[in-house]
């Protein structure tokens, strides 16, 4: 317990951590301030107009769908024959759409929490992932480099305990900070929506989906933190983690993706971590495989494929787990000179 408290104090006293927290607060403040400045509560007239526009848009969708069905059945009047309709009318079936136009879509200069919370949360998760990776890497990297670990081992000559405590404290602190930041962030924008915009449709489904996205985001933050920690431990330096991340992005995500496309490798996106990160966050991700329809002979061919959240989580967990185990194994045997 003493070791955990000491590590927690070391972590919170680190300037880099403090700087990242300030940056988080700054980004948060700027986003909230600009949102607040650019939003107003809609007047009853604006609301009525927006509702009418939304109703009109929904009616148009119904009409297009009906015309599509009529065309398939041969009942379409000649004056609308020229319009494009998909071969499969279900594509324009309003019932099958992910969402239908609502009044808030037609309100300009009005922040609507219900429709903006999801992209706002994506931004926060992206920042916290970056925060976790950098803090995880610098926390152990600087300690290994500055002799802090050696000093600690002279007091507590149990390497696994010391490294495990460091990682545990880091993950715990990152999770607590992420949760606090998330609550403060969403609460602030909820208040902006209530007082200077619109709350939007905040039903049980909305909160369930937002909660699920947030939970997936927190898992990603913890994985990124552990990954940064493991890479810096293996490389004995913060820059080892940063260099690995940069090299991976350039060599694999850019270079290898290009090569895979040139050689027409099937489903190249499944080899990219970014695809799995996206699939995990969104629950699933669909990709189009350029080589999938090469032999279809020009007929209808659906070359898309899906990466599920479960598969993505497995890939991310295995990668992080392997690197973490390797880091602990290397630290256990390493000569600290």
């Amino acid at each position: 317990m003493n070791l955990v408290r000491a590590e927690l104090e070391r972590l919170t006293a680190r300037r880099f951590v403090q700087l990242m927290v300030v940056l988080l607060a700054l980004a948060f403040g700027v986003t909230a301030a600009t949102t607040l400045a650019g939003s107003h509560q809609p007047s009853p007239v604006e609301l009525a107009e927006a509702r009418a526009q939304a109703a009109d848009a929904r009616r148009q969708m119904d009409e297009i769908y009906q015309q599509c069905v009529d065309r398939v059945n041969g009942n379409l009047p000649p004056e609308v024959e020229e319009q494009y309709y998909p071969a499969d009318c279900s594509e324009v079936d309003p019932v099958r759409q992910e969402r239908l136009p609502v009044a808030t879509d037609y309100l300009t200069g009005v922040f609507t929490f219900g429709s903006q919370a999801r992209p706002l949360l994506f931004f926060l998760i992206a920042f916290l992932v970056l925060f976790g990776f950098l803090v995880g890497a610098s926390y152990i990297g600087a300690d290994l480099n500055s002799g802090g670990v050696v000093n600690l081992l002279l007091w507590r000559p149990r390497r696994m305990t010391v490294l495990g405590t460091k990682l545990g404290t880091l993950l715990g602190a990152t999770l607590v900070l992420s949760l606090l930041a998330s609550v403060a962030y969403l609460a602030t924008f909820w208040v902006i929506g209530q007082t200077a915009g619109l709350a939007g449709q905040l039903d049980a489904d909305f909160w369930r989906e937002l909660g699920a996205l947030h939970a997936r985001g927190m898992v990603l933050v913890l994985l990124a933190t552990a990954l940064g920690f493991a890479l810096a431990t293996l490389g004995r330096h913060t820059s080892a983690a940063l260099g690995t991340a940069a090299a991976y992005a350039v060599v694999w995500e850019l270079g290898a993706r290009l090569v895979l496309e040139i050689v027409d490798a099937p489903r190249p996106d499944r080899f990219m971590l970014s695809s799995h990160v996206g699939a995990w966050l969104a629950g699933e991700a669909r990709f189009w495989d350029a080589s999938g329809c090469a032999s279809s002979g020009g007929g209808f061919c659906d070359a898309s494929y899906t990466l599920t959240g479960g598969t993505a989580l497995t890939v991310l967990l295995v990668l992080t787990g392997v690197l973490a185990v390797a880091a602990f194994a290397a630290f256990r045997r390493r000569d600290l000179i």
């Binding site: 003493n2 070791l3 408290r5 000491a6 590590e7 104090e9 070391r10 006293a13 680190r14 300037r15 600087a142 500055s146 002799g147 802090g148 050696v150 000093n151 600690l152 081992l153 002279l154 007091w155 507590r156 000559p157 149990r158 045997r333 000569d335 600290l336 000179i337």
Partner: protein, 341 residues
Amino acid sequence: MSAVIEIEGLRKTFHSVRHGRRIAVDGFDLVVGAGQVHGFLGPNGSGKTTTLRALLGLVRADGGRMSVLGAPSPTHLPQVAGRVGAIVESPQFFGNFTAERTLRLLARAGGVPAVRVDEVLEQVGLRDRGHERVKGYSLGMKQRLAVASALLKQPELLILDEPANGLDPAGIREMRDLMRSLSAAGVTVLVSSHILAEIQLICDHVTIISRGRRVAAGRVDEVLAGFDQHEFRVRVDEPERAAELLRDAGLPVDAHPDHLVVGEVADATVVSRLLGEQGLWVRELTPLRPDLESVFLELTGEGVHPSLPRQVDGSRPPGGAPPHGGEIDLGTVGSDRGGNA
């Protein structure tokens, strides 16, 4: 006297892709008895720090047996770590933390009462600078902080690697006084240093390592006595005639421009009587006792080829003979001669 540190046959080889294989410690033995202030000497790269790091579990030994306060190291080191204070080669600290905070964190991690922080800052002379960030410290102040961190636990055994590194003369004297007071309080001290005069002043026992092997060990006075050639410096009005007389008496004489060095003199009166009987009056007759520096240089071969550029741990110049045929062991524990091998 019981042994606080025992090392037997320690071996460590470093492997590097660029530099290949390098033997750092090759069958090294060390015994430090309870209550000793034990000097650990050796040239740069001779294996001192590797030995201390292996003893403290920071480096994995390839062979040999080690124990600290009776506990096999590194397997049982956690059991005795609370009784051992150590600093190992140029200790580094987090620059943005103050000395006080650095020590407080260590104290917390080790379950030491916070009140010890102020005590050790006072003890090493950093009381008034403890609130400053470590990055503003001089090398000597960092060294004091390192010693303070080692003292936090009120250790029974203190292991200090180059504690005088970076200290000014006053700091060196304070460090010497500190070690003496710790020794008087019953703390066993193992100190490695290059400042041989300091070691001679502070330590009662010494172990000398060269090229990863022990070349001498025992009480400081006994090690020095082993190299005493019973030489005297003689100043006399007619040095050529005096030298001839002494040589005729069977004594080896080395003539210098203004004095003679006469060896194998069991009793100084032999020289004065021999010269006085021939009307040569002695103006100076001074015994030449070996000091630790001359013994160290002779044992490690550091001073035998002054014309050659000295290499790190260049105990043996290329193509040259070993500087020392074997080991001088005068007993590491207490005064038991040869009892530590």
